[in-house]
Amino acid sequence: LAKTTQPISMDSYEGQEVNITCSHNNIATNDYITWYQQFPSQGPRFIIQGYKTKVKNEVASLFIPADRKSSTLSLPRVSLSDTAVYYCLVKSTLTFGKGTMLLVSP
């Protein structure tokens, strides 16, 4: 089963673009890649999902290269409220891994 690897933490400032990359070297052919956001004392919530190339919604963009062995979540112009833990999930694994703690400072 594909396992995911992400940076443990990232720091940014308000207004900057943040890119968080997740590695999933053994992703299965039919697997989608899903990203979640989690605030303290809450369960994770869905942000964005994709299979290949680029996906964009009102919150974020997701870039997936042709080999699909990694994916990058892009958060444009972050604000203080984007401080959270971000997880990538490859469906067949059903495991979230350790996530990336993003800290946005003024």
Binding site: S41, G43, Y87, T95, F96
Partner: protein, 114 residues
């Protein structure tokens, strides 16, 4: 709006007690999951279920069991609670089969074993 409800936000139990954590979803989802979350370890899958009365072990099933008697309810059972089971427990549900729809989570139960 979709909803996953966990019966307690906070729970304190004693070592050796049998503990039940309840989770209910109102979305008619086939799949339900139990995770625990610990600092530095992220979310780890304990058990999941694809259907009523079906259960599958996740990555860390030891010391836990589950029950799914009805589609909307998935219970996590600590047969004899120990202090190393102090943690945040998260329940989730999702569509079954080949669906790639995301999981929906409850807000968690913070369990302390004394």
């Amino acid at each position: 709006d979709v909803k996953v409800t966990q019966s307690s936000r906070y729970l304190v139990k004693r070592t050796g007690e049998k503990v039940f954590l309840e989770c209910v979803q109102d979305m008619d989802h086939e799949n339900m999951f139990w995770y625990r979350q610990d600092p530095g370890l992220g979310l780890r899958l304990i058990y999941f279920s694809y259907d009523v009365k079906m259960k599958e072990k996740g990555d860390i099933p030891e010391g836990y069991s589950v029950s799914r008697e009805k589609k909307e309810r998935f219970s996590l059972i600590l047969e004899s609670a120990s202090t190393n089971q102090t943690s945040m427990y998260l329940c989730a549900s999702g569509l079954g089969g080949d669906s790639n729809q995301p999981q929906h989570f409850g807000d968690g139960t913070r369990l302390s074993i004394l």
